[in-house]
């Protein structure tokens, strides 16, 4: 039963990927201008455009380019960047590593903190501690991340000179040097993603706390701490894991603003650059990676919530 459900989820995931690939392909082809026009920019003339288009093999019809790309992708060949001539695998390779390092570190720091703070706030609802946490997270959710990033740079880099203002990597730094270089974007992202996870943990647990069996536990005289850790938490884990998965997917695909402000060469920025240069194969490859990440993480979250909640194991 369990494996069947997981297999069904995987099949749905694949279908999603195919649909996304078509949408991305269509969406990128209606962007104004093509890669030749963007490369040449203000210096484009009809002759140089034609010469460059022919050189880039862009005179083929759209569906031919789509299917040949899909076929190549299936065997792991991501193609060649139209804009720079490097292979897309090589462009993405290093960026992917950077993104994973950043996402991994942020997750490592923010998930334990968030769950701990969320649980703590749920254990003491209505106290001033709870109020500080809810008010603080509300503030950081409401403030755009570029604002948090800029404020942090102004204080910690420009005024105090404690940390570098950009996440500039030389490629051969030690772990502590790496941490120092990444400190500012890490801090920004931890603040941004923790807020949501804290609120979700707190809300999820308080929600379960109002259910009859918890009331029963309270009437039996079980201590509040035990109720939360033993009974409420495992029942609330479904929505919490889902919010964690969404935030992790966001860390892989959606941190373009933070990457821009700290000049950090990650995947999201690469995709934006790809859109700006109309480098379709690059955009499509990034989009597929992002979509794949979402599908995978949501799948894991679903499996986790099924495991934590026996009721979900039985299909209705």
């Amino acid at each position: 039963m369990m494996t069947q459900m997981v297999l069904r989820r995987i099949a749905i995931g694949f279908a999603t990927l195919i649909v996304v690939s078509i949408i991305v392909f269509l969406a990128t082809s209606i962007l104004p201008g093509d890669v030749a026009q963007i490369i040449l920019g203000q210096s484009a003339t009809p002759e140089t455009l034609a010469a460059l288009r022919a050189e880039l093999g862009m005179d083929q019809p759209g569906y031919v380019r789509y299917f040949s790309w899909l076929g190549n992708m299936a065997v792991g060949d991501l193609g060649i960047s139209k804009a720079g001539g490097a292979t897309i695998a090589s462009l993405i390779g290093g960026r992917m590593g950077n993104t994973m390092v950043m996402a991994g570190l942020v997750a490592l720091i923010s998930i334990p903190i968030s769950i701990a703070l969320g649980l703590w706030a749920a254990m003491h609802p209505g106290t001033w501690l709870d109020r500080v946490v809810t008010f603080g997270t509300m503030c950081t959710i409401s403030v755009p991340e570029f604002f948090i990033a800029t404020i942090l740079v102004l204080i910690l880099a420009v005024e105090l000179h404690w940390l570098p203002s950009t996440a500039y990597l030389t490629g051969n730094e030690s772990f502590t040097e790496l941490l120092r270089a990444l400190a500012m974007p890490l801090l920004t992202l931890v603040i941004v993603v923790s807020a949501q996870m804290i609120r979700m943990t707190r809300a999820g647990i308080l929600n379960v706390m109002s259910s009859p069996y918890i009331e029963m536990a309270i009437l039996k005289g079980v201590p509040r701490r035990r109720i939360i850790l033993r009974h409420a938490f495992f029942n609330a884990i479904g929505p919490i894991v889902n919010v964690i998965a969404l935030n992790l997917a966001y860390l892989v695909s959606g941190v373009v603003i933070v990457e821009t402000i700290f000049a950090y060469p990650g995947l999201a920025k690469l995709m934006i650059d790809g859109v700006q240069t109309r480098d379709l194969p690059l955009v499509q490859a990034c989009a597929m990676i992002f979509c794949g990440t979402y599908v995978l993480l949501i799948l894991l979250a679903d499996v986790a919530s099924i495991l934590s909640n026996p009721r979900l194991r039985q299909p209705k």
């Binding site: 201008g33 203000q42 804009a83 490097a86 880099a157 000179h161 000049a263 690059l282």
Partner: protein, 543 residues
């Protein structure tokens, strides 16, 4: 006063070493920024210092600071744009970051000085024949590529041929179209056979895209330049190490790192925090922040970076001369320079030429004033009461220029609507397509190339579709003219034609504004691009 006495300190007058801290810093900054004697004296005298004292302070200050260049150190530069399309192949260079990497890695035949006089680089000498239909270049002997291959005429011919012919995808193909053929005359001599006489050819051979690569290669980072390429990651960074086998004195720095920070606020912050020593394209909004911060300087170089509004002459409403006149008279030029460009710019006279172009600039042409009454008169005569202008932030300040024009138009009852569009895709979809749009142009090294590219009849980038036969005649005739007076008359006639007849509105020119750390010395100020037209890698040193 001769130059000799000018440079001697005068006894009895206050000298540099006697100044108080703040004043000293000010003079130091002026000298470091490369102010000429006259500019520096003007500033000092404006603060009430006597002529003699000002002379003395400047001279003693220069002596105090004239240190010998120091070897060593490394510099990190942050440009404003980069991406996976970053190039090492010179004919395809399109952005400051490409130009800078090109400058560090390769050499051109010709180099531009700060005042745009062509200087020998890989070409030791360059001589035209009597009517400028042929140019002969003697190539420097004993120059080696980074891999040890000696430079010969073959490399030059190969590199230059990449700009010619139908197959060429070179960005400057049309700029070098006056060359018919490159001919090898010996192992170290080449000749350019021209289609049309061009006395400005050497200047054009100093353009960013004319870098010399090795025969049969397409820009793999092997050049003859002052730095060898260590690593290059498009859209991330490149690292360059000093070429110890360089044919000139060689770079002072051990290494340079070239990267970009695309966000303008983050770029300024990185400069202020000391994470980068050079930052390009400082936004006018950040001028004060950079000027007031300690340890960094705003390097503002007057240049012909036009803030232009194109009224297409082949479409309504630009085809109507009165409409264009109305648009020109409604520009509050002084206010634009003062408020929008924060005084880091110059007033434009609806021609692309300005004082930075040197003697070819027509001072005699009367300045078009801000005159709402005239504008109202011309708008009414044109019969239009509204128009739609496409605006993208193609250069800092252009949106404010359009907003100001909109406000001033509203005062005289003309409805100028602004349609804001992104720069992404702008050059393909809007520029030269929509009847009213905005434009900016990098400064070209000669007045002729600047006008030919944009106002030559039938030119590929004639962005107002203004085709004037007389203009075409003058553009080619002036290239063959060697008499300075006659040449100036011709250039004046051309600027007058553009000023009177074209569809271009050019209310102002922006300076090139970059931020540099105070310990960066000997910064070039070639006005053809950011950071001294990217000439800095070979010449700067760290104090």
């Amino acid at each position: 006063m001769t130059d000799e006495t000018k440079n001697k300190p005068v006894r009895g007058e206050i000298s540099f070493s006697e100044l108080t801290g703040g004043d000293k810093a000010l003079v130091e900054k002026a000298i470091k920024r490369g102010y000429t004697r006259r500019e520096a004296l003007k500033i000092m005298m404006a603060t009430g210092v006597t002529m003699a004292a000002a002379q003395n302070i400047f001279t003693t200050g220069q002596t105090a600071m004239a240190q010998t260049p120091k070897k060593g150190g490394s510099v990190r530069m942050a440009s404003n744009l980069h991406g996976p399309d970053d190039q090492l192949d010179p004919p395809l260079f399109t952005s400051t970051i490409d130009y800078t990497r090109g400058r560090a890695t390769y050499n051109s035949m010709i180099q531009h000085s700060n005042d745009l006089v062509p200087q020998p680089e890989l070409a030791e000498t360059f001589e035209p024949n009597a009517d400028a239909t042929e140019w002969t270049f003697k190539i420097r002997q004993g120059v080696e590529f980074h891999d040890g291959t000696p430079l010969t005429a073959d490399d030059i011919i190969y590199s230059m041929n990449r700009h010619l012919g139908e197959e060429s995808t070179s960005v400057i193909k049309s700029v070098l179209a006056s060359v018919q053929e490159w001919k090898k005359m010996g192992s170290h001599e080449v000749k350019a056979i021209m289609n049309t006489p061009n006395s400005d050819l050497p200047t054009l051979l100093g353009l960013f895209q004319t870098k010399i690569v090795k025969n049969e290669t397409t820009g793999d980072g092997i050049g003859t330049g002052p730095f060898t390429l260590e690593t290059f990651e498009p859209g991330v960074k490149s690292v360059h190490k000093r070429n110890e086998n360089y044919w000139r004195e060689g770079a002072h720095l051990d290494a340079v790192e070239i990267t970009a920070i695309t966000d303008p606020v983050a770029r300024v912050n990185a400069l202020l925090a000391g994470d980068v020593q050079l930052a390009t394209s400082i936004d006018p909004k950040a001028f004060r922040q950079v000027e007031e911060a300690s340890g960094v300087t705003l390097l503002s170089t007057p240049a012909a970076l036009q803030l232009g509004i194109c009224c297409l002459k082949n479409a309504e409403p630009g085809s109507n001369d009165d409409f264009v006149k109305g648009m020109q008279y409604i520009q509050d030029r002084e206010r634009i320079v003062k408020r929008v460009l924060k005084n880091k710019g110059s007033i434009g006279n609806d021609t692309p030429i300005m004082s930075a172009h040197g003697p070819d600039f027509c001072h005699e042409l009367p300045q078009r004033p801000f005159d709402p009454d005239q504008a109202k008169f011309h708008f009414e005569k044109s019969g239009y009461s509204s128009a739609e202008l496409y605006v993208a932030p193609v250069t800092p300040g252009i949106e404010d220029v359009c907003l100001l024009a909109q406000a001033n138009c509203a005062k005289i009852g003309f409805d100028l609507q602004l349609k804001k569009v992104p720069t992404d895709g702008y050059w393909g979809a809007i520029w030269m397509n929509e009847p009213l749009n905005v434009v900016t142009w990098n400064m070209r090294p000669t007045a002729n190339s600047q006008m030919a590219i944009q106002f030559g009849p039938g030119a590929a980038w004639n962005d107002t579709y203004w085709n004037n036969e007389r203009m075409g005649e003058l553009l080619s005739a002036s290239l063959a003219e060697t008499d300075p007076d006659k040449r100036h008359t011709m250039y004046c006639e051309m600027q007058t034609l553009i000023h009177e007849g074209s569809g271009m509105v050019i209310p102002a020119f922006s300076n090139i504004n970059d931020g540099i750390a105070d310990n960066v010395m000997n910064m070039p100020t070639v006005p053809l691009g950011q950071l001294g037209a990217c000439e800095w890698p070979e010449f700067i040193w760290l104090a």
